[in-house]
Every structure is written in structure tokens, then in C-alpha cells.
Symmetry: C2
Subunit: 107 residues, 2 copies
């Protein structure tokens, strides 16, 4: 594998890494429905507001969300909606794992 190839895998992994956190997944799912301001996440997520802000900035740096300041608030929205397709597949992975465990129990 040459260097160019390698750095392309690093770039791809970084996008996935940005999504690979429970809080950030929650944020993305909320944004799938509608744009939200940080203040809304501060209400619904049980973590320090600085922590939430940092999660948002991880998603922004990865290019997954975008932000816009309006008045005192910063609104985030989904920039690349295709990330939602991930979720379906993740569900399939988890479901297949559960089915497997059921089979083990029943055998």
C-alpha cells in the first residue's frame, strides 16, 4: 500500500471516528430531524456544556455538520445527510449479533 492510499484510509477513518461516539451519534440523529442550537443539546444531554461543544466541534471538523451563529445562539445542522444511512447498517450489524446469540442459547 503506497503513501497516498494510506493517507486516504486515514482520512476515511477520521470521518468514521467522528461518528463513533454515543453522544455524537445522538447529536447526529437529532440533527437528522431538524437543526438544533447548542442550548438544546445542553438541555437533553447529561454532560458539561463544554463537553457538548467539543463533540459538536469534532463533528464540524469532520465535515459532517455545519454551524451558523444567529444572535446569541449557534445552530448546527446536518451537512452530509447520507451519514444517516450508516445507522440502518449499524442496526443490521447489531441485530445479526443478537440473532446469533439467540441461536447459541437455543442449541
Amino acid at each position: 500500500m503506497d503513501d497516498q492510499n494510506k493517507s486516504s484510509y486515514v482520512a476515511k477513518a477520521n470521518v468514521l471516528k467522528a461518528l463513533a461516539h454515543p453522544t455524537r451519534l445522538y447529536i447526529v440523529e437529532q440533527l437528522a430531524a431538524k437543526e438544533c442550537c447548542v442550548c438544546e443539546f445542553v438541555k437533553t444531554i447529561d454532560a458539561d456544556f463544554s463537553t457538548i461543544s467539543k463533540h459538536l466541534s469534532v463533528l464540524k471538523n469532520a465535515g459532517i455538520v455545519q454551524d451558523e451563529k444567529r444572535g446569541q445562539n449557534v445552530f448546527y445542522s446536518l451537512k452530509v445527510p447520507c451519514v444517516l444511512r450508516f445507522m440502518d447498517c449499524v442496526d443490521i450489524v447489531i441485530k445479526s449479533r443478537i440473532e446469533e446469540q439467540m441461536q447459541i442459547l437455543n442449541s
Copy 2:
């Protein structure tokens, strides 16, 4: 967010975390084409074979790949092909990021 919801996000994040590594992405892409034995990855990936084995076990524990021992070799194959759909979207994210940078340069 209740506990059940929270642990569902943790489970989903774990699947994504398993994919969120350059070497593991490479492995998954190779497996998309055909099953491979560990020995093949040992040849093409520049890392200790124990490291490669551990990456494979991360993917296996996440339920993304499955393994089968045949003779001296262990063959891995993709268990949940839908993960390949991730790649397309990851490419879109990266492409959109690059286009944005171009716009900044041209403005």
C-alpha cells in the same frame, strides 16, 4: 434520554468504532472483494502480525466479519456487507470537504 436509549447509542458507537481505523478499513475493503486469510494481510499490511490479528479480532467482536479455520490458515470474510455502504458516504463527506476548501481558495 433513558438508560435503554443510552446503551443503544453505546452499542451503535461500538460498531462504528470498530470500523474507525485505517488498517481495519483496508481490511474490510479487501474482504469486500473476497475472503482472505490472515497470512495475506500479513503480506500487504506493514505492521506486526500480532497487531493485524488484533485488528481482525476487533472487527470480529463487533460482528462485522467472521472467521473460519481451514488447515493452518484462518480465513476471514465479510459478515455484514452493508458496511460497504459506509464507504460511499465517507467519500462524499471527504469530497464535500475538499470542494469547500477549493471554494475558499478561489474566493
